[in-house]
């Protein structure tokens, strides 16, 4: 197993219970691991939540952490994947003064070339939204920063895996016990 630090996406299927976020994040905290991003949402199965956690660690640690997460009573299953094994994206929003849209023709080109979407425009400001890889978002931020950004926010990574997860099979097996 490689000792190199790399980016891993940890996917966790859980019951939807209060306190579970705390329980899972504590596993990273006690090993002094910084969580790069954490997203939690409904999964493909009703009533089952999915955490997507991005951390920079070595594979050996990823393997141990996944087992310690899976050990939590309300965790159904946990996995770790490299970037190559997942399809992932992030989402971001920019709030920018509306004047710029009309006074700086370059901005319109930037928007067009970056495939960003204008969510709303009013007299004071307009809002841009973009989904993509981190470097695309960072590049767009760099381009827009020259003109001034009123607000910027970026979501955590969301990811689906190339491999099957087979959570439904696991739950069916339990129900049939």
């Amino acid at each position: 197993m490689s000792e190199d630090i790399q980016s891993f996406t940890i996917s966790v299927y859980t019951e939807n219970n209060i306190g579970l976020l705390n329980r899972i994040s504590a596993i990273f905290q006690r090993r002094h691991i910084n969580i790069e991003s954490l997203t939690t949402s409904q999964s493909e199965i009703d009533g089952v939540n999915r955490f997507v956690i991005v951390v920079n660690i070595c594979e050996d640690t990823a393997c141990k952490i996944v087992k310690q997460i899976e050990k939590q009573v309300e965790t159904i299953k946990a996995y770790y994947h490299t970037e190559d094994e997942t399809i992932f994206t992030e989402s971001c929003m920019f709030k920018i003064k509306s004047d710029l849209l009309f006074n700086e023709p370059q901005i319109q080109n930037i928007i067009k070339e970056s495939y960003a979407r204008i969510v709303t425009v009013n007299k004071e400001f307009f809002v841009l939204e973009k989904s993509g890889r981190r470097n695309e978002i960072e590049s767009l931020r760099g381009d827009l920063n020259r003109f001034g950004i009123m607000q910027f926010v970026r979501s955590g990574r969301i990811a689906v895996t190339k491999d099957q997860m087979k959570i439904t099979e696991l739950l069916t097996a339990f129900d049939n016990q």
Partner: protein, 577 residues
């Protein structure tokens, strides 16, 4: 509680009744077969105590003198009986005082259910009087926890708590119940929890893994077993014995594995770890196959991992997948319940013996005996040793006592020298190393097993960490035998200061009170021994006593515990002096 009463409670539980949440708490506990619980009342748990008052002929609440004492007493109860220990406390400081015991139970896999009262749900998060986020605080040290804010959720939460605490790898759980949930009414019907869909407590043993393990063992020239508490928790003592005897494998134990297999057995080669025996530590790095059973390769067992059993093929039996390859990379992992997997292993093993290999252990034991053990248990110097006290206890108990030890030098001496014929007889704080554990844990142990002799072996430091529990011993008439081995030092820390800090004894010397007077203040029979010629008779008197008894033995102030693997050193660098 008598079996008929338990059955009656279970019958009652099956009919639906309109009762209060607090009564539901007590009825749920009774439906789980709880006969004793340990705790301390306070504002947010008072409705439950009111119900405990009504049901006092059916369920015995033991008032400890501190909530930490309640948690440790529940641990002692669980460790000697194999049943779930129950502790109860109020919100805020009551709940936080349980934490050390809960953390201890978590790291030592002890089944506990802790019930805490909580402020009214409308006050949650408002910094109300005695409000603390005990669910948040206890999360990292519990197997599972939850907060109940509605009366109707109480029975299911308690049922789930007991199921999780006792199943698979056991552990502590905490159920926090708001006061409004205790006061409100519900239609009570108790159904035991039979499973949780996201939780697989016992992985199925893979026959292929058993075959792979058996093949390695059958071809081994120098196999060695190291078993841990997993054998006791899995009630696999008989299966372990069968494996050891059939394949003729020298077998060593971790501190929490002690007593699962008799110390007197010729294939029992002693304790591994920092202060374990010389032979099993040294020969860990000589064996060709290391069979780890229900143990977790703690750093106190392995020393430096880079030089731990590198020459050996390693087989690891464990119920917890997270333990596999956590500290030591293994060649064969056998997941599952130890009782089942050891029975399967035994079937697959060839009958064998390893006399020459066993002799290597016996030869190293002889060296340890000459250089360490003999001086510890048959001393000729003037000062008393801890080892000779243990020897006298062995003589009086015939190796049948449950030894409850605290943490430090006396603990290592107790575990090294106590004779164990009976399983579940070594009750000690292994993983967390909690000073103050022994006195309350001994209370719980004695109350769970009143027919057994329970001897608490405690240092003068740890004794004073929960000395208030003498009040519980007195009130409950718990016939615990308390031995304080007094060296007027925090001995283990002092030993390290001597060896690794050039004898700078920073804050380890203790000026102690009159311990006999304190025990007598609680009306406990007490005696102090300072000379060797008084020791045997004093231990005899203590062991013969039908009531609780306090014995202080003033031992040599600056004795050290050896063998010792210095922190970070290899098991083969175990020192005899």
């Amino acid at each position: 509680m008598k079996t008929e009463t338990i059955n009656k409670n279970q019958e009652v539980a099956e009919k639906t009744q309109r009762i209060s949440g607090s009564e539901a708490v007590v009825r749920s506990l009774m439906a789980e077969g709880v006969d004793i619980l340990y705790g301390y009342p306070g504002g947010a748990i008072m409705p439950v105590y009111d119900e405990l008052y009504k049901f006092q002929d059916q369920i015995h609440h033991v008032l400890t003198r501190h909530e930490q004492g309640a948690a440790h007493a529940a641990q002692g109860y669980a460790r000697i009986s194999g049943k779930v220990g129950v502790a109860m406390a109020t919100s805020g400081p009551g709940a936080t005082n349980l934490i050390t015991g809960i953390a201890d139970a978590q790291i030592d896999s002890t089944p506990l259910v802790c019930i805490t009262g909580q402020v009214f749900s409308h006050l949650l998060g408002s910094d109300a009087f005695q409000e603390t986020d005990i669910v948040g605080i206890s999360t990292p040290v519990t197997k599972w926890n939850c907060q109940v804010t509605k009366a109707e959720d109480i029975p299911a939460a308690i049922a789930k708590a007991f199921y999780i605490a006792r199943s698979g790898r056991p552990g502590p759980v905490l159920v926090d119940i708001t006061k409004d949930a205790q006061v409100a009414e519900l239609d009570f019907k108790y159904e035991k929890c039979k499973g949780v869909r996201s939780y697989n407590p016992v992985p199925k043993t893979n026959p292929e893994a058993i075959n792979a393990a058996a093949e390695l063992i059958n071809n081994a020239k120098k196999p060695m077993i190291v078993w841990g508490q997993g054998v006791i928790l899995g009630q696999a003592e008989e299966e372990l014995k069968n494996v050891i005897e059939k394949a003729g494998i020298p077998a060593a134990w971790t501190i929490l594995g002690a007593s699962a297999f008799p110390t007197s057995h010729p294939l029992n080669i002693g304790m591994v770890g920092m202060h374990g025996n010389y032979a099993p530590n040294k020969l860990t790095n000589e064996c060709d196959v290391l069979i780890a059973i229900g143990m977790r390769f703690d750093d106190r067992v392995t020393g430096n991992l880079d030089s731990y059993a590198k020459q050996a093929k390693i087989i690891h039996f464990d119920i917890d997948p997270a333990e596999i390859n956590k500290n030591v990379k293994v060649d064969v992992a056998v997941l599952g319940d130890s009782k089942e997997s050891l029975a399967m292993l035994s079937e697959a093993l060839n009958k064998n013996s390893h006399d020459a290999w066993l002799k290597e252990f016996k030869d190293l034991y002889a060296i340890e005996f000459d250089q360490v053990i003999n001086n510890d248990i048959n001393p000729t110097k003037e000062g008393l040793t801890m080892g000779e006290v243990l020897k006298q206890i062995n003589i009086e108990s015939n190796g049948n006592a449950a030894i409850v030890s605290d943490v430090g030098q006396h603990q290592m001496i107790a575990c090294r020298y106590a004779d164990f014929n009976v399983t579940k007889s070594n009750i000690t704080s292994g993983g967390l190393g909690t000073m103050g554990f022994a006195l309350p844990a001994a209370i719980g142990a004695k109350m769970a097993a009143p027919d057994r002799e329970v001897v608490a072996i405690i240092g003068d430091g740890g004794y004073q960490m929960n000395i208030q529990e003498l009040g519980t011993i007195f009130q409950q008439k718990a016939a615990v035998k308390i031995v304080v081995l007094n060296n007027e030092f925090l001995g283990m820390v002092r030993q390290w200061q001597q060896l690794f800090f050039d004898k700078r004894y920073a804050s380890t010397e203790m000026t102690n009170p009159n311990f006999v007077a304190i025990a007598e203040g609680y009306y406990i029979k007490a005696r102090k021994v300072t000379k060797r010629d008084e020791l045997a008779e004093a231990v005899k008197e203590m062991m013969a006593s039908k009531e609780s008894y306090f014995l202080e033995v003033c031992v040599e102030k600056e004795d050290n515990v050896f063998p010792m693997i210095p922190s970070g050193a290899s098991v083969s660098d175990v020192r005899l002096s």
